[in-house]
């Protein structure tokens, strides 16, 4: 066998012959996020040392992101399959109350059982989305927009003017959010476990890889004989479960909450996923990038007030970041496509 060297055929050459600085930054989205996060924390701490160097400061910095990370990872897995889950915020609200109420109504249940039941409840709510999208073939945007309102409606009916009362929640459970292991916040450990499991699943399990495939080219997935219905359903179950986890975490942190808990969180999850490198068009994105994206957005929300940037500006800044991230993705995609074309005709 001879190795051919003809026009338009890739040989064993290195991946990319000319790497521009820009494309390097693009490929290392995670690295640039880390730099930005460290920079943001440094600047904020220089302005206001208490931001980091106080017991409460560090604790807040390391525990609030857990909510965002759980939601963003779930959202990212759905988005990788070219779908979207807009109902995550409503599921978070419903499961948070479910969890708090369970503590109240069934105080005899051990805490792990309550957590488990809440996660199962989240999974059920998510599988309703997944089932409708996969089997009725209605676009996920429409279905989850519907369940966004439906689940919130159930919350309002069920909770009414009531709210989770701090005295319902067992002290050990409240303590969990405050405690740490060797100086690392328990909640941060929870977030790390979520990221590790999801990352392993998405990069190293057959099903995870097939989720990337189906998002990358749904038509090819059918021709290839992948179980597309099943692969469409799974991510919604995962995102529902992770929204349930976020509900548990919410109760643990705040030990209270009314029927408005989680309002608008689904869009924050989308934002974190996009900033973390997930493409809305599917097939692209890494879990630890998403986790960093979520961590970054959480840090930004705590840092901006300290930097005495009016809260009015926060949303605008997040918006600019999202638009910027998507525009950059597109620009780099076009650059790469152009390069590939030039190589072919060279």
């Amino acid at each position: 066998m001879t190795i051919r060297q003809i026009k338009g055929v890739a040989t064993a050459a290195p991946r990319a012959p000319r790497q521009t600085v820009l494309s390097w930054i693009f490929q290392a989205r995670e690295l640039s996020l880390i730099v930005v996060i460290v920079g943001l924390i440094t600047v904020t701490t220089l302005t206001q040392p208490q931001y980091l160097f106080s017991e409460g400061g560090l604790r807040d910095l390391l525990r609030t992101p857990t909510l965002y990370i759980a939601l963003a990872v779930g959202q990212a897995i759905v988005m990788i399959t070219r779908n979207i889950d807009l109902s995550m915020g409503s599921i978070l609200g419903l499961t948070a109350y479910f969890c708090g109420n369970l503590f109240h109504e069934a105080p005899f249940l051990p805490i792990p059982v309550v957590i488990l039941l809440t996660l199962v409840f989240g999974a059920v709510l998510g599988s309703v989305n997944g089932f409708l999208v996969a089997f009725l073939k209605v676009p996920a945007l429409v279905i989850t927009l519907g369940t966004l309102y439906a689940y919130r409606g159930i919350s309002v009916l069920w909770i009414g003017g009531n709210f989770i009362r701090p005295e319902w929640v067992p002290t050990e459970f409240k303590q969990f959010a405050l405690a740490n292991v060797f100086g690392v916040s328990n909640l941060l450990i929870v977030a790390l476990i979520v990221v590790l499991i999801a990352g392993w699943f998405m990069t190293s399990r057959r099903t995870g890889r097939d989720l990337y495939a189906i998002g990358s080219n749904p038509d090819a997935a059918v021709l290839y004989g992948l179980r597309t219905k099943w692969l469409t359903l799974i991510p919604f179950v995962i995102s529902g479960t992770l929204a349930g986890l976020a509900g548990v975490v919410y109760v643990s942190i705040y030990a209270t909450g009314d029927s408005k808990v989680g309002l608008g969180f689904e869009l924050q999850a989308v934002a974190a996923a996009v900033v973390g490198g997930v493409a809305v068009s599917g097939g692209v994105g890494r879990i630890w990038g998403v986790a960093l994206g979520a961590f970054f957005l959480a840090t930004l929300t705590t840092a901006l007030p300290v930097l005495s940037i009016p809260s009015l500006w926060q949303q605008a800044i997040v918006g600019v970041l999202i638009v910027g991230a998507i525009t950059l993705d597109r620009v780099f995609f076009l650059i790469r496509q152009n390069q590939a074309r030039k190589e072919l005709s060279a």
């Binding site: 066998m1 001879t2 190795i3 051919r4 003809i6 026009k7 338009g8 055929v9 890739a10 040989t11 064993a12 050459a13 991946r15 392993w200 990069t203 190293s204 399990r205 057959r206 890889r209 097939d210 990337y212 495939a213 998002g215 990358s216 080219n217 038509d219 090819a220 997935a221 059918v222 021709l223 290839y224 004989g225 992948l226 179980r227 097939g283 692209v284 790469r336 496509q337 590939a340 074309r341 190589e343 072919l344």
Partner: protein, 501 residues
């Protein structure tokens, strides 16, 4: 000994259209079997049935002498059938190695996808095929040739008994074609059965041992290639009557209306020059993918082109500007009327007046009253069968939809009308009505540029046939000289057989 693959009397209908009406195919192990036929002869449908993408309505399907009934593509794959589709179907965001092993990635002992093993197996496969493709690069941006190699590597790694290649060479250059043919022979010598679909007879004769000809969804003949000639195959492909067609009426041929000179778009069409006169129907014929629609779209300005010029009545039509083309008197009836020709959820009246909106508006507001006039006239003239003028276009039959699209352009009193596949998906009765309309149009002095994949339609309607092959004009046949064989020959063989200037 039983055959590797046998299909007998297979039928398949989509809605009212019969795609297969008795297709037969017998494939043996260690054989390369050519499947040929005109556009729409049913080859692709047959392939999709073998590949498990469609179920058959009736007929026998035997694999290794046993009756099979595939419910999915995965099912067909399990039975050792690999299909390499005309358009490679890779996952652009996955690596080359992952593309080969999607859905059946090997695992390590610890439950991780074994990338090293996939990489090694991919290297081995590509080396066997005589190429070196980096297993770790993304599939995005690979050349068509490389994508096809990956599809073949996939088929080999699945250990397929039957490999179907649907026009694999359509997008390849000479060297790449030779290489692909080498691979096909290698697979044959390993005892696999290969179905090779191609419109290039030189390749069919160079590679295959048996040929099956299909026409109108039916099996026509199967022969050893040693026993047939190109001319015989072409005759089997086109041999049918052209009775049920409305021939074009005589019309006064006038001045040149459209003049296209040296139109070029790299890789799509090259140096295309032709003219269409008033009252003349010029047909662009050729195989699907030859570049006919692309030329028409460029003339109208939907697509860009790099060099050359388009003129209407001597006035240059600006590039890539359909509004200017419309202003100069061009109309364009696209191939896909549902997606490109009609506003499906708007009424007949709105659709008909869509291209003359300025005339039906008062003070900048479109007036339903003003719309009604022209809509009524054109719907009547074209005999659009609809209950009311506000019936949504989606409710009409295919033939009536096409009449609405035609009416839309006729309302603009065009000098030139480009019609891409005027009768696709229209039943036989309405077909001749559409033909009559187009013929009348030419009779009224409109220049018509028509694209059609149906040879009888081309022969019945055209004053002149321009044959396109791989982006170039390879034939210019006048009405008196036109035969199905001549058109087919120019479409498949190209310039060496240029007929009457």
């Amino acid at each position: 000994m039983s055959h590797l693959l046998e299909l007998h009397g297979v039928t398949k209908t989509f809605g009212a259209v019969a795609a297969l009406a008795g297709a037969d195919m017998v494939l043996d192990a260690g054989s390369i079997h050519a499947l040929v036929g005109e556009n729409g002869a049913g080859k692709s449908t047959l392939v999709k049935i073998i590949g498990g993408l469609h179920g058959r309505d009736s007929g026998e399907f035997l694999l290794d002498g046993e009756s099979v009934d595939f419910r999915s593509t995965a099912d067909a794959k399990h039975h050792g059938i690999a299909v390499i589709y005309q358009e490679p179907t890779l996952f652009p965001d996955l690596t080359v190695a992952e593309n080969i092993f999607v859905g059946r990635q090997p695992y390590t002992r610890f439950g991780f996808v074994n990338r090293a093993e996939m990489r090694r197996a991919t290297r081995e496969l590509t080396a066997r095929l005589g190429v070196a493709i980096d297993p770790d690069r993304d599939a995005r941006g690979l050349s068509i040739a490389d994508q096809q190699i990956i599809e073949i590597a996939k088929a080999i790694s699945l250990n397929a008994k039957v490999v179907i290649m649907d026009e694999p060479t359509a997008a390849l250059s000479g060297v790449e074609v030779d290489q692909l043919m080498g691979i096909a022979r290698q697979l044959r010598d390993e005892g696999k059965g290969i179905i090779f679909i191609s419109h290039r007879f030189d390749e069919v004769f160079a590679l295959c041992d048996t040929v099956t000809v299909m026409r109108d969804g039916q099996h026509i003949e199967t022969n050893a290639l040693a026993d047939v000639t190109t001319d015989m195959i072409i005759r089997q492909m086109v041999g049918r009557s052209v009775d049920n067609l409305f021939p074009k009426q005589e019309a006064q041929i006038g001045n040149v209306v459209l003049s296209v000179e040296h139109l070029t778009r790299a890789g799509v069409f090259e140096d295309v020059s032709f003219q269409v006169r008033a009252g003349e129907i010029v047909c662009l014929a050729g195989l699907v993918g030859a570049g006919r629609s692309e030329i028409a779209r460029a003339v109208f300005g939907v697509d860009k082109y790099e060099s050359g010029s388009v003129m209407i009545d001597g006035a240059v039509v600006p590039r890539h500007k359909p509004s200017a083309a419309m202003g100069l008197g061009m109309g364009f009836v696209p191939e896909d009327r549902r997606k490109q020709g009609l506003a499906m959820t708007a009424g007949v009246q709105t659709n008909i007046t869509l291209a003359i909106r300025n005339q039906v508006a008062k003070l900048g507001f479109i007036s339903s009253k003003l719309e009604h006039g022209p809509a009524e006239i054109w719907a009547r003239r074209l005999q659009v069968k609809t209950r009311a003028l506000d019936t949504h276009a989606v409710m009409l039959s295919g033939g009536n939809q096409q009449k609405v699209v035609l009416a839309k352009w006729l309302a603009t009193s065009p000098k030139l009308l480009i019609i891409d596949e005027p009768t696709r998906g229209i039943d036989v009765g309405t077909k001749s009505e559409v033909h009559r309309l187009i013929s009348e149009l030419a009779g009224n002095g409109v220049a018509v540029l028509m694209i059609s994949s149906e040879l009888p339609e081309v022969i019945g309607m055209a004053d002149r046939v321009l044959v396109v092959r791989e982006g170039r004009l390879t034939g210019n046949i006048s009405r008196s000289d036109v035969t199905a064989e001549a058109v087919m020959y120019a479409a498949t063989h190209g310039a060496e057989h240029e007929v009457a200037k």
